[in-house]
C-alpha cells in the first residue's frame, strides 16, 4: 500500500444519497480471484450505456472529471455488502479520498485498509462541495485538514490507528501477527466452548 500523507486533486461529485456497494461494483464482477483491474467496472451501471459504451452524461465520464482523485458523495456512502471489491475498484480507478456526511461502517473499514481516506464533513461543507464540482482540494493527514479553495480549511477526524497505517502505508496484519503471544495466552486462559470439529 502506498503511503498517504497529503494529496491535492480536483473533486468529482456524485450527489446521490445511499450509494450502495452494488452501485460501486455490481455483483456480477465479483467472480474474480484477484484484486486487479476492477476499476473498469466501477459504477458500471451508471458509467456505461446498454451497448457497453461510456455514457457521456455521467459525471465520471466527463472530461473535467478525468484524473480526479477525490470523490464527493451524497449522505451514507457505501452502504450494503462487505465486498472489498468496492474500495479496490475505487482505488484502481484512481480515487484516494471519499467525502460524505456519513460513510457505512464496513466500507469505511475496508477503504482505510486499501489506501483510501474516508472523510466526514458537516452539512454546510458537504453542501458547498456538492454544489461546486471540479474544485481543487487538499487532503492532509499530517494536519488532519481538508483545504478548500479560498484558503478555507476544515479539520476532520480519522481513527488514529487507521491514520497511522495510511500514512506509513503499512497493513494491519503485521500488527496483529506481532500479538501472537497474546493470542496464545488468550486461548490458554479462556474457557471457550470447544472448537468446531472437522466437517465430515
Amino acid at each position: 500500500m502506498e503511503p498517504f500523507v497529503s494529496l491535492t486533486s480536483r473533486t468529482v461529485v456524485l450527489p446521490a444519497e445511499d450509494i450502495d456497494t452494488d452501485q460501486i461494483i455490481p455483483a456480477r464482477f465479483l467472480t474474480t480471484t484477484t484484486r486487479a483491474g476492477l476499476g473498469q467496472h466501477l459504477f458500471s451501471e451508471w458509467r456505461y450505456l446498454d451497448d457497453g459504451t461510456p455514457d457521456p452524461s455521467f459525471t465520471m465520464n466527463m472530461r473535467q472529471s478525468q484524473g480526479a482523485q477525490v470523490l464527493v458523495a451524497g449522505h451514507n456512502f457505501g452502504c450494503g455488502s462487505s465486498r472489498e471489491h468496492a474500495p479496490w475498484a475505487l482505488y484502481d480507478f484512481g480515487i484516494r479520498v471519499v467525502i460524505s456526511t456519513q460513510i457505512a461502517d464496513i466500507f469505511r473499514s475496508n477503504a482505510q485498509k486499501n489506501g483510501i481516506v474516508p472523510i466526514l464533513v458537516n452539512d454546510e461543507i458537504h453542501q458547498w462541495l456538492l454544489t461546486h464540482p471540479d474544485v481543487a482540494v487538499t487532503v492532509d493527514l499530517e494536519s488532519m485538514t481538508l483545504r478548500l479553495p479560498g484558503a478555507r480549511q476544515v479539520e476532520f477526524e480519522l481513527d488514529p490507528f487507521a491514520r497511522h497505517c495510511l500514512m506509513q502505508g503499512v497493513d494491519q496484519l503485521g500488527f496483529l501477527l506481532a500479538q501472537t503471544s497474546d493470542v496464545d495466552a488468550f486461548e490458554r486462559d479462556q474457557p471457550l466452548t470447544p472448537a468446531i470439529a472437522v466437517a465430515s
Binding site: T31, T33, A104, L173, D182, I196
Partner: protein, 458 residues
C-alpha cells in the same frame, strides 16, 4: 455496573484492550468462509507464508456463485470465472486444511443457513464472515458481523480482528405480530423506522415481547437484515427457544458440556438497568405486511399503503410514482429464497399460500431452499410437490437470485417480488426492479401475478 449483552461478549473476547492509538484485538470464535470474498485473503497467506491458525474454528461452503440447477451443480461446471472461483475455494480449503462443505455435500447451503443448522453458531460467540449478513447469527445471542477480505485474511492468520468498540442500540418491540404479518415484515418496519443508515456504528439488541415470541428461524430473519439499517450487528439474548433449537445439533455441546454451556449462556442477557447508547420502541401489533417500493430497504411501506414522496431517481428506476398504490402492480418474477427467508418455516409460509393454487401464467416463480438440509426437510413434508404442482421451480440450495451471480437473474425492467434482503439497483440483474417482502406476500404475488395482500389467502 450493569452490562448489556453486547458488553459481556465484547469484554470476554478482548485479547488486547483498546487504546487511543490502537483498536482492540478481538478473538473470533467462528469464522465462516465462502467463495466470493476469500480468494484474495488466501493469496495473502500464501504470499507471506502463513497458515490458517485455527482451521477447527473455520467453516467454508459454496453458495454465492454456485449453480442451483441439479444438472449443473452435480455435473460438469461450465468453464468461466464463477467456476474458477469455486475451484479456488476448493483448492484453498484443501491446501490450508479448512473444512469445506463442498458442492456434493449433504450439508452444503447458504453460509448463514448452515452455521445455525449445524449448531455451529453458539450464544456468546464472536462470529465473522466476509459477508454483511453475518448478522444473522446474532439470533443466538452471538456478536456476529460482516468483514472485508483483508480482515478475512487477518482472521485466517491470527483468529483475531482489530475493532473499535461500537455503540449499542436497544430495539424494543412490544405487542405481538398479527396473523399474516411475519418476522420479515417486522424487520422491514424496523429498517423503515431507523432508515438505511440509521444504525451505522451500532450493534442492535432486539428485545421485548414480540421478539421473545419469535422462533429461532424468525429471529434469524430479523437479525439478518440489521445491516440494512446500517448496523454493525444485531442480536437477541438466548432463552429457552434458543436452547431448544441448539440441543442435539451436530456442533452443539453434548452431555456435561451441554449443561456447562447452558449455565454460561443463561447469563448472556442485558442486565436490568444496563444503558444503551440509543433506544427505539415499536409496536408489533400495529404492523401490516410490508413491501419496499424503492432502491434500498429503507424505502418500505405497508402493503396496503401508497408510495410516499421519495428520491426521483429511485422511483424512476422502479417505474413507480408517488401516491400510487402497489397492490395490483403486475409482477414478472417471484423469488422465495436467500439467507433472509429460505428456511423451512419460510417455505411452509409460502406453501400455505400456494397449496392447491397455481402460479399465474407469465410469472416465473423460483423457490430456492437455503441448504440441502432444508431441501430434504421440505421434501419430507411434501412442500416441493406443492411448489411444483403450482408451477414454481424447485432448486438446489444457494444464494441464487438474491445476488444474481450464478445465472439466476431478473430481466431488465421486470418486477420481482423477492424474499431476499436488498433491492438495490441491479441487485437481481441489470435493470431489475425488486420489491422486498415476506414469503407469504411473495407467494400471493405468484398466484395473482400482482402485488397482493397475503392475508386474503390465509
Amino acid at each position: 455496573m450493569p452490562q448489556t449483552l453486547f458488553d459481556k461478549i465484547w469484554q470476554r473476547h478482548q485479547v488486547v484492550g483498546e487504546s487511543a492509538s490502537a483498536p482492540a484485538t478481538v478473538y473470533i470464535d467462528l469464522h465462516l468462509v465462502h467463495e466470493v470474498t476469500s480468494p484474495q485473503a488466501f493469496s495473502v497467506l500464501r504470499e507471506r507464508g502463513l497458515s490458517v491458525r485455527r482451521p477447527d474454528r473455520t467453516l467454508a461452503t459454496l453458495d454465492h456463485s454456485t449453480p442451483t440447477r441439479a444438472a449443473e451443480l452435480y455435473g460438469a461446471l461450465r468453464p468461466g470465472p464463477a467456476t474458477t472461483q469455486i475451484q479456488t475455494l476448493q483448492k484453498n480449503c484443501a491446501d490450508f486444511g479448512v473444512p469445506l462443505y463442498d458442492l456434493d455435500s449433504r450439508e452444503r447451503g447458504i453460509v448463514h443457513v448452515i452455521g445455525p443448522e449445524l449448531g455451529a453458531s453458539h450464544p456468546g460467540f464472536t462470529i465473522v464472515c466476509g459477508d454483511s449478513h453475518t448478522s444473522t447469527h446474532g439470533a443466538f445471542g452471538a456478536l456476529a458481523f460482516g468483514i472485508g477480505t483483508t480482515e478475512v485474511g487477518h482472521v485466517l492468520a491470527t483468529q483475531c480482528l482489530l475493532q473499535r468498540r461500537p455503540k449499542t442500540m436497544a430495539v424494543n418491540v412490544n405487542g405481538r405480530l398479527a396473523p399474516g404479518v411475519s418476522a420479515k415484515d417486522l424487520i422491514l418496519a424496523i429498517i423503515g423506522r431507523l432508515g438505511v443508515g440509521g444504525g451505522t456504528g451500532h450493534v442492535l439488541e432486539y428485545r421485548g415481547e414480540a421478539i421473545a415470541a419469535l422462533s429461532m428461524e424468525q429471529r434469524m430473519t430479523v437479525c439478518n437484515m440489521s445491516i440494512e439499517a446500517g448496523a454493525r450487528a444485531g442480536l437477541v439474548a438466548p432463552d429457552d427457544t434458543t436452547l431448544e433449537y441448539l440441543h442435539g445439533r451436530r456442533f452443539a455441546p453434548r452431555g456435561r458440556d451441554w449443561a456447562a454451556a447452558v449455565s454460561r449462556w443463561r447469563a448472556l442477557r442485558s442486565d436490568d438497568g444496563a444503558v444503551f447508547d440509543r433506544s427505539v420502541e415499536l409496536d408489533a401489533s400495529a404492523l401490516a405486511p410490508m413491501i419496499t417500493y424503492g432502491t434500498h430497504p429503507g424505502m418500505v411501506m405497508p402493503i396496503d399503503g401508497t408510495v410516499p414522496a421519495s428520491q426521483r431517481s429511485a422511483l424512476d428506476y422502479m417505474g413507480l410514482s408517488e401516491g400510487q398504490r402497489l397492490i395490483g402492480q403486475p409482477v414478472d418474477v417471484v423469488f422465495v429464497g436467500s439467507c433472509t427467508n429460505s428456511r423451512l418455516s419460510d417455505l411452509r409460509d409460502a406453501a400455505r399460500v400456494l397449496r392447491g393454487r397455481k402460479v399465474r401464467d407469465g410469472v416465473r416463480a423460483l423457490v430456492v431452499p437455503g441448504s440441502q438440509q432444508v431441501k430434504r426437510d421440505a421434501e419430507a413434508e411434501g412442500l416441493h410437490e406443492i411448489f411444483l404442482s403450482a408451477g414454481a421451480q424447485w432448486r438446489e440450495s444457494g444464494c441464487s437470485m438474491c445476488i444474481a451471480m450464478n445465472g439466476d437473474a431478473v430481466g431488465s425492467g421486470q418486477y420481482s417480488v423477492s424474499t431476499s434482503n436488498r433491492n438495490f439497483e441491479g441487485r437481481q440483474g441489470r435493470g431489475a426492479r425488486t420489491l422486498l417482502a415476506s414469503p407469504m406476500t411473495a407467494a400471493a404475488a405468484a398466484v395473482t401475478g400482482r402485488v397482493t395482500d397475503p392475508r386474503q389467502f390465509l
